[in-house]
Symmetry: D2
Subunit: 342 residues, 4 copies
Amino acid sequence: MAVRAAVAGASGYAGGEILRLLAGHPEIEIGTLTGNSNAGERLGTLQPHLAPLAGRVLEETTTAALRGHDVVFLALPHGRSAAVAEELGDDVLVVDCGADFRLTDTAAWERFYDTPHAGSWPYGLPELPGARAALRGTRRIAVPGCYPTAVSLALFPAYAAALVEPEAVVVAASGTSGAGKAAKPHLLGSEVMGSMSPYGVGGTHRHTPEIAQNLSAAAGTPVTVSFTPTLAPMPRGILATCTARARPGTTAEAVRATYEEAFRDEPFVTLLPEGRWPATAAVYGSNAALLQVAYDEAAARVVVVAAIDNLTKGTAGGAVQSMNIALGLPEELGLPTIGVAP
Amino acid sequence: MAVRAAVAGASGYAGGEILRLLAGHPEIEIGTLTGNSNAGERLGTLQPHLAPLAGRVLEETTTAALRGHDVVFLALPHGRSAAVAEELGDDVLVVDCGADFRLTDTAAWERFYDTPHAGSWPYGLPELPGARAALRGTRRIAVPGCYPTAVSLALFPAYAAALVEPEAVVVAASGTSGAGKAAKPHLLGSEVMGSMSPYGVGGTHRHTPEIAQNLSAAAGTPVTVSFTPTLAPMPRGILATCTARARPGTTAEAVRATYEEAFRDEPFVTLLPEGRWPATAAVYGSNAALLQVAYDEAAARVVVVAAIDNLTKGTAGGAVQSMNIALGLPEELGLPTIGVAP
Amino acid sequence: MAVRAAVAGASGYAGGEILRLLAGHPEIEIGTLTGNSNAGERLGTLQPHLAPLAGRVLEETTTAALRGHDVVFLALPHGRSAAVAEELGDDVLVVDCGADFRLTDTAAWERFYDTPHAGSWPYGLPELPGARAALRGTRRIAVPGCYPTAVSLALFPAYAAALVEPEAVVVAASGTSGAGKAAKPHLLGSEVMGSMSPYGVGGTHRHTPEIAQNLSAAAGTPVTVSFTPTLAPMPRGILATCTARARPGTTAEAVRATYEEAFRDEPFVTLLPEGRWPATAAVYGSNAALLQVAYDEAAARVVVVAAIDNLTKGTAGGAVQSMNIALGLPEELGLPTIGVAP
Amino acid sequence: MAVRAAVAGASGYAGGEILRLLAGHPEIEIGTLTGNSNAGERLGTLQPHLAPLAGRVLEETTTAALRGHDVVFLALPHGRSAAVAEELGDDVLVVDCGADFRLTDTAAWERFYDTPHAGSWPYGLPELPGARAALRGTRRIAVPGCYPTAVSLALFPAYAAALVEPEAVVVAASGTSGAGKAAKPHLLGSEVMGSMSPYGVGGTHRHTPEIAQNLSAAAGTPVTVSFTPTLAPMPRGILATCTARARPGTTAEAVRATYEEAFRDEPFVTLLPEGRWPATAAVYGSNAALLQVAYDEAAARVVVVAAIDNLTKGTAGGAVQSMNIALGLPEELGLPTIGVAP
C-alpha cells in the first residue's frame, strides 16, 4: 500500500524538486500540494517541468489540507514548521526542509534567526556518525541546509579522525536556485550570468552555526568555521572547498585512508579516484555527492572538495533519503545517482 | 529475463545519454560498452555523471565485442553503421543514432553526405503517422536527428491537415552538446557562453533533407524547408520556431483543434494550454516535447514552437522509445517525462 | 565647450549603458541623473560597473531636474516622453529611448499600445535610407527598438533592391537585459540559464509594427512581418535570423552585391567575408553590427543574420550615434567598435 | 609621435585583450602581430571582435618580425621569452605576459616549472609596495599571473600592516578564458556551462609560489598559501576569497582603516563601501579591481574578496598599466575603468 505524501510549499524550488523525486519513487503516492500566494493555480503553470503533475491545483497551506497523509514535506519560510507539526500530530512523518529544527543550541539559533528557537529534530544527513540510528522510525526530520550538507560530508571524517585543527575555512559556490524563486533584482539572469559574487561574508550566513555544530560533533570539541558562500552563474550545484590545518603527524596517506574508510559503504557519497576532481555538472539532478581530498604539505593543510546538487542531495534528495530510513524503506529507493550531463 | 544492450560509442554525449536512460530502464541489462580512441579507459573518467557505471571499461568498437546482445545502440560517425549491422545479423535489434539510414532518397543523401547511401530503416520518431507500425517488431531503427525530431513534431500536424503552404521556415536554437564532444575551438566555453551564432545557413545543414522528407510525407506533396540552426549558450535543449504560410481558409481555431487532436494520446508530446510557451529548461533530461501554436493573422502564418532536450527526446530518448516499441515493451518504459529544473 | 547631457532613467539597463558610453565620449559632460524609485541613491549601489560615477546621486525625474542641459536622454516607460519633451522646449536635444515616437502610423500604434499616439520623431537608425538627413540638426530623436535595429539593418537592403517578396519571417534571440531590470520570476537566473523560450509569438510583440514600418519604407510597398522573439541565456546580444522569399530573377550574386554596396561606407555595420557568420559575443559592448547573407536556392529564400548588442547598437549606442549626427559631431565619436570577447 | 607596439601571440585570449586595449590607447600605434600556428591568417578570422583590425595578417613569431617597435608584448608559452628579449636588445620595452620572469626564487621556480629559471624582471603589479619605482623607466616587465594579481591586491595590505598570521587560505573562481584558447575537452562549453570544478588543488597550481612571493614580501616574513583555483561557468572574471587568521589585537576597525589607506589614491582599485560586495560582472572588460573586507570575530579571521577581469587587470590591462609607467605616460592612459554590465 502506497505511502501518501503531501508537500507544503510546492511552488518553490525545494518543493518542485521534492515532487520530481516523489513522482519517481515507487512507494509514494503524491497527495495534497499547497502553496502560499499560488493557491488555486495549476502546477503546470508554476512548475512546467513536472509534466505528469501539470493538472494538480495548489491549495492553501493549512493543517486541514495537509492532514490525512503519511508524510508531510514542509518547504516553508522558517518559523512556521513547529505549529504545523504540532497540529499534524505524532503519527505523521514531518520532513522539514526549513531551518527551524536544525540547530541544537538555542544561543546559536538566536544569534542568526529572529524567531524563537523551536527545538531540534533528528538531523537528515544520514552519512553523519549516529544519524541513521536517530532517523530510523522517527516521525520528525530536520533536513540540513544545502551548504551544511556539502561541507559536513567533506570535513566530518577529518574531524572524526582528529586529522585537522578545529578551525575550518570553507568557501563554497552555489547555483542560484539556492536563493529561491522570489524575484529579487540581484538574482535576475542579467545580473548573475557571467558573474561570481560573495554574500553573507564574515560569519554572517545562517548556515555557519549548522556547519560548526556538525563538525564540532564529529570532532568532539568546538570547531570554528570561516564560511564564505558565493553565488555562481549556474542554476544548480554546490562546490564546497573546505580546508583545515593538519594536526601534527597527519600524512597524505592517513587522509586518503580515512576518507576511503568513511565512505566505503555509502551509497550516495563517492570519494573519487586520485587525480580526479569533482564537478557539479556530474551530480546535476542526482543525489550523489562527489569528494576528493588533498594534503598540501607546503601549507600543512588538508583540502577537501565536495560537489552536490543543492536541490537534490542538498535538499529534496536528502529529505527523501531520510524519509526512506524513517519509514523503514530501502535507503536508496527513488533516488537518482546518475546526473544529467553534459 | 533482461534484455541485454550494448552501446557502441559510449564515450560521447549520445552514448552517455543512452547509458543514463538504460541504467534506469527496468528491462535492460547493460552489456558491452565500446569507444574509439578511449578503449581501455574507465567510464568513470569519461562520463563522471554515470556514477553507478564508473568501473566499466570501454572496449574497441568491433563486431566481436558487440555480439551476444539483444540490442546494440550505435552512436558512431556516419558511414560505419551498415557494416556493423550486417555483421551482427538479423536477430539483433540495431538502433542507429547516426544518419546512415534516415533518408529514403538517395539523391538527397548524396547532396549532403560524402559516403554511399546505405539505404533506409524504420524511422524512430513514433509520433509520425505510420511510424509505430513500422517500428513494431523491427530489428533495425534509424533514430532521427535532433533538429528533425523537434521540427517534425512541430509541423507534421499542420501539413497532414493541409493547413499550410509547402514552404516551411524554421529557425532552431540548439544547446552545445548537439555539436558533440570533440574539442573544437569554436565550441570552447569561453566562446559559446554569452553568445548566439548561426551555422549551416542557407540550406546547407544535413538535417535539412531529413526535415523535408518528414514534412513532405505528412503533406503528401513536396515541402521545401528554409532551415537555420543556431548555437545557444546552454548545454542541452532545442527550441525550434517553425512557421509556414497559412493556406486560404485556415483559422486559429482549426490550427488549435488540429494540434490538440494530433497529440491527445501521445505520452511524450504536450500541447501547452493557450498562453503558455515552451522553455527548453522544462524538458532538461526528459523525453517530453512541449509545443505551442499560434496563428498570426496579420502575417497569415502558422507559428509552432517546440522544445525538446536534444540528447533525450532528440537522440537517446527517442532511441529507447523506439526500442521499446520494437521489442514489444511498454513505450514509456524507462523514459523520464519530468525535466530537471530549474 | 562640452555638451552637457542628462539621463532620465539612469538606474535601468538602458540608462546604465548610455552612461557607460557618455563617460567615454570626449565631447560630453554628464549632468543630472534621475531615477524613479531610486531617487536619492548613489549610482554606485545601482550600477556598480560605472565606477567613476559611483558617487553620483539620482534625482527625481522632473522637468526641473532635467533643465539646463544641451541633451536629455529619456529611458522611461512609454507614455511619458511627450510631456517631458514639451516642457524642456525646442532648444534641448531630446533623445527618447522609449517607444513613444517611433511609429508614424497611429492605427499601428493603437493596436499595440494603450496610451494615445504621441506622434513621430526623426528615427535614430542612421543607416536607413534618408535617416541621416532627418537626424542632422534635429532636436528630437526616436531611438529604435533593439529588435527593429537588428532586423531593419538585416533586411532593408533586400527590400530597397526589390530582391525579396513583401513577407518577411524573422526569429530573433535576445539576451535577458532586453527585458529590463524589473525583477520578474521568469527572468531569474535560475529560470533563464540553460533555457531558450519564445515570447510575444504570433505577431503580438510591440516591435512588430516598427519592423514592418521600416521594411515597408525601404520596399516602397507594405511588408508583413512574422516576428518571433526568443529569450536566450545570455545577458546581452541579439541574433536576428531574417528570411524572405526571393523574387523571381534574384541570384546569390545579386544578393551579395546588394549587401556589399549597402554597407560599404557604414562605420558600424560589417558584412562579413563569405563563409563567416556573426556571433553576438563579437559585438559585446560594441556599437558594431555584424551581418551575413545567404541565398538558399532550394528554398528560394534569402537569409540574413545580424548580430548586435541590444544595449549598445540596439539602444544606447544608436542613441549616441544619432546624437552625434544631430549635434554635428563626428558620427563615430565615443562609440566602441571593438567587442569585449571572449 | 606614437609609440609603436608589436604583439607576439596575437591569436590567443591574452593577445586579443592586449590588442583591444592598445586599439583604444591614444599614444599607441599597433605594429606587427604574430601567431604561431595561425601565421598567415587574418585577424578578423581569429578575433572577430576586433573589427577595426580585421584585415591585419599574422606573421610568424620571429625576432625579425618583432624588431623596429618601441614596445613588444609577449603572450607566449613559458620558456620562450628570454631568448626573444635578448635578441630584441635593451632599447625595446619587452612586456612579458608569461611566467618566465615573475619568480625571484630559483628553487620555487624549479618546483613548478620544467624549464630553466630565466631570472626576474620588474613586476607589473604597480599597486604593490615599491613596484612603481621599479617599473619607472624599465625596459623589461614581468606581468603577473591573473590569480596573483587578484590575491596580492586582496592580501598585501593585511600583511604589510601585520594584521594577520603568515598562513593564507585562498579559494578563487576564474572564468574559462584563463585556461586559454587551446581546444581541450574539459573546456568545451557543454562541460563548463552549469558547472563549477576545482583544479590544481593542494598547492600544485603554478600561481601558488607567485602569490607566496608577493605576500611574503609585503609581510617581511615567509607566508604560506593554501590556494585552490576553481573553474567557473563564465568567460571572464576572477573572484578571489582570501582569508588569514587575525593576529592578536587586530580589530575590525583596524582592518577597514588599513584597506582604506592602502587604496585611497589607487586609480584602479576600489574598496567598496561597507555592506557592498564585489561581483565580477562589474569589472567585465575593465581594469578596475573591486575589494571588500570583513573581520569574522567568531572565527578570528580576516576575509578579503577581490573581483577583477582576469584578461584585463589580470593580464592585458596590468600589462598596459605597467607599460604606461615604464614609458613615463599617465598611468591610466587607455585603460577602461567602467565594466560592460549587465
